[in-house]
Symmetry: D2
Subunit: 332 residues, 4 copies
Amino acid sequence: MIKVGLLGAGRIAGVHAMSVTRNPDSSLVAVSDFIPENAEKLASQYGCSARNTDEIIADPNIDAVLIATSTDTHSELIEQSVAAGKAVFCEKPVDLSLERARLCYSNIKAASLPIMIGFNRRFDPNFKALKFALDAGEVGKAELLSITSFDPAPPPLAYIKVSGGLFKDMMIHDFDMVNFLFGGLPKSIMVSASSIIDKKISELGDYDTAVATLKYADGRLVVIKNSRRAAYGYDQRIEILGSKGLLQVQNVVEDDIIKSTEMGVQSSNPEYFFLERYKAAYKKEWAAFVSAVQMKTTVPITLADGISALAMAEAAAVSAKAGSEVELANFL
Amino acid sequence: MIKVGLLGAGRIAGVHAMSVTRNPDSSLVAVSDFIPENAEKLASQYGCSARNTDEIIADPNIDAVLIATSTDTHSELIEQSVAAGKAVFCEKPVDLSLERARLCYSNIKAASLPIMIGFNRRFDPNFKALKFALDAGEVGKAELLSITSFDPAPPPLAYIKVSGGLFKDMMIHDFDMVNFLFGGLPKSIMVSASSIIDKKISELGDYDTAVATLKYADGRLVVIKNSRRAAYGYDQRIEILGSKGLLQVQNVVEDDIIKSTEMGVQSSNPEYFFLERYKAAYKKEWAAFVSAVQMKTTVPITLADGISALAMAEAAAVSAKAGSEVELANFL
Amino acid sequence: MIKVGLLGAGRIAGVHAMSVTRNPDSSLVAVSDFIPENAEKLASQYGCSARNTDEIIADPNIDAVLIATSTDTHSELIEQSVAAGKAVFCEKPVDLSLERARLCYSNIKAASLPIMIGFNRRFDPNFKALKFALDAGEVGKAELLSITSFDPAPPPLAYIKVSGGLFKDMMIHDFDMVNFLFGGLPKSIMVSASSIIDKKISELGDYDTAVATLKYADGRLVVIKNSRRAAYGYDQRIEILGSKGLLQVQNVVEDDIIKSTEMGVQSSNPEYFFLERYKAAYKKEWAAFVSAVQMKTTVPITLADGISALAMAEAAAVSAKAGSEVELANFL
Amino acid sequence: MIKVGLLGAGRIAGVHAMSVTRNPDSSLVAVSDFIPENAEKLASQYGCSARNTDEIIADPNIDAVLIATSTDTHSELIEQSVAAGKAVFCEKPVDLSLERARLCYSNIKAASLPIMIGFNRRFDPNFKALKFALDAGEVGKAELLSITSFDPAPPPLAYIKVSGGLFKDMMIHDFDMVNFLFGGLPKSIMVSASSIIDKKISELGDYDTAVATLKYADGRLVVIKNSRRAAYGYDQRIEILGSKGLLQVQNVVEDDIIKSTEMGVQSSNPEYFFLERYKAAYKKEWAAFVSAVQMKTTVPITLADGISALAMAEAAAVSAKAGSEVELANFL
């Protein structure tokens, strides 16, 4: 049984609190938050104690720290937790600053403790099955990977301000998915981006709609399409063209009912957003972490993986601004 | 917190043990089985005690009895449990003998304790949504209801011998679904049945493939198609033609991946069998029972409902043999 | 080049006039109709002459007679045409009277001229592909065939009066499809029918909604569902459960566009009615007739096939009234 | 009745010969080809005369010239035909040289005769319906357009050598589709391209897989994905994300049969290639030309439209080589 201290008590922390509690091999011991009342509320909901962050990290009784605080605190909390000998599970992204993330990496690499970054989508049953089918050669050699990743609605402008921008906040998931599916990093990236949904997003220097094209050294191409708004729900589709065919992951829908009337044949919307769509994935990523800690095996998504995705996001931002292809090597 | 004693430790009892344990408002206290080792095994898995049936029913500490024994014991166990003042959840069917089930009903009706029959499919999210859409008039007035209900593979002949036959074992689920969706009983039933999958099933006096047509007094028609074998998995579809359109519940599939190759465009099979397909339904039916017991509201599926479905099954068997329509009134 | 005289100038005659004209191996020479103006209108549209029926049948220049008049005239016109040495293509059904149809058969059988009955659905590309897949054993041995056949809207009551009723007018298509797919006649039939769409249909002694169950001597079962109204369009689906899987023909839809909005995911309605849905089938059935006449091969749908379907329709009407299974042998 | 002279007797000329012949308002008078035997063969098939190109253009009896020769002859044949006072229908692309196409334009613009470029896909019923739904505001304001356009198999290397390359031969269709759907030209284009299917294509200086991203002045984005090989057939899908939803055109499939077995649920492949997929479109584009000529209305796809698409193809080739965004204004 792994005893877990949870740092952060916001929305995503709530998701993780449930995963920790429901997993038969982990228990939630304590929660902290920048706003103590939030920590208390979550703690009482899950029957654990609300403490401050330093106490949790210092507690010798706690085996693992789960970092779900604001992104700008991640690197430091990883370092402190590792210094205290804890296994660490940290939400994505590692940091908003690629440099700071790299410093974190070099600061903690000697410790060789399990540190896992929470790219939950790798644990989605559909995407896992996609990876399996791809690796099994079901469509031959991969040539062109396409990711459609649209949120249902843009976040508040206040969030966008601190989010690190579309590439580090949203497309970073897709960058990690590319690395996961293709098992390695692309060579270059080229981005075209707009703020067509809301001009205020543009005033913040950010984009709401973007297309990234990535190229691998062997010629494989990747397209990632992001939009902050899809009126019909969370659109999360992937397709891979290979030498022998096409693999597609369709959206997961709310139910399997079809209604046919004079007005047309109507089926259900995709699951509304990430909490619904990736419910199983959150549960399974936590199980994977617990298993790696207990079995002393490598975690499935390392800090280096988190840094790779962050480097791609930074390269994407540069490409979008410059209007030209950039070599990823310059960011690694 | 409702304390539950589970009678039976077979496959379906295992499903219920998990529902009881995972529900935050119920706890599994004891298990019994005809074969004591089975009870012990299940008990040790869920950390409760293995006892004999009489002890469980007599235990004043136990609030509710969950009956998951062989069908021929149901009526008596319901009567004993009610006599002991317990709330009762009983697996379908109520009994193999319609007469015995009616006797059970008259023996316990004075007690006015909650007795719920486990027609789990009513709690399937898709079928609930279907019922909701129908009642909301989304396709106008219902005219023709069609249920496709195929098992992936026939059970062992040994099971078929004691099952009560296709109508009481398998189609009874569909009869209850008809009553649930249309909110009342049909007037007549007409069945055509075969044993085309396995002649040995015919030698046991049973069928493996059957079509039942039911008619309501107001002219609504229902078709139920049953087969003991669908090589592609558990086929569980429903459609309702109404005056303004058609509602269809499609199969729930294993994943949302499509593979296109020279050989065609391939998507995934339906969930293999009832444990996978109705996973959520089993959990929700138990929650509904717990809620009814705690809130002292009527259980959503009464003993009378169980007897109605059983009467339809008996009428079906008579019709299949006679090759003619039979009035349901003769069986109520 | 086959020279064709068309008897009848109504809606279905118009469909055939186009097939005859567009087929490179047939030409439309003359048209007749009970209402001469109708014949003139159609004749002028296709650049042929309007004559009376007797003249057409007597014309030595005409090779084939296409009978698209009202059903009660079919038998006589077949007999006259055969007596005049013509090849005959006759719309379904052969007759409203099974007895009269049998008399027609015995009257003309000595002539051994090509006589084809227009069960156009056999030539639908989807149903042909279904037949091919079935015969190729793609789903093993057939066990249960289901036909859904709903019209978009009921015909006028005036039409229903002279139609011969649901079974001879509408379900007869499905009976022929059963014989086509299974390559032989069932043993018995059992029908449950209602008039739930329009009570006036009931007052005419007819039904608007019906379910027929057919059984073959070897145990294969068939379900046919008919409704005179499907608000969403012409619903024409077939599925066959076999020992190794399921074959389904889906509806043919108006276009391949999907619209996803907050309101759901909407695709297109089925083609509205038979003229659209079976456009290709009408063309191909005519080509099959022309080819059989030219190549002197057996026509693909014989008068005997037409009589078989009619016998099933008559048996269906008897079963619906009696509420019991009837043996088809009594009607052959 | 428009009398038509057809220049060219290759595969696409054969498609047009059928359209001309089947259209009730046009007739095929003569065919020419670089290889006279080809012209004779096609002429005898359609019952018209085989002549040389100059005779056809000079014939005062001929109203319209249909140019389906090799692309390098298009500009000159347009000029000659216009000089002879003919209406002109010319296959895409206008020319391989943007400069030559522009010269052609300035040479003939005074004549004001109908000149239509054969971008057949604009006449595909699905894409027309897409355009209609988009313009009707069914998904609000367009933001992101995605075109998937994969051929089933690469053409012979001999063809690739003279094709003008992927952008002028294949993606030019998609560029025209962008202009058609959005009713105007994008501002910039950015391309990433590979030859991953066949290295010999790379040796010819061409690509077999490419992703183009186009940006409009108002921020709308477009992604075009091209591959010379899709083992499962001709993949022709379009989707448009708008402020209120998503419009998708799915592939047109070979039939509507679904086969479910132990191995999965299998539906049919897309139509194999352009002759099958765009059969109706070829017929309708010709009808549109005939109608414009007869009604003296503007042709739906002008020479200027053809030049716009060609300019986009040229810009795409420059971008792919340079690895940077290029402004389309530099190519207009």
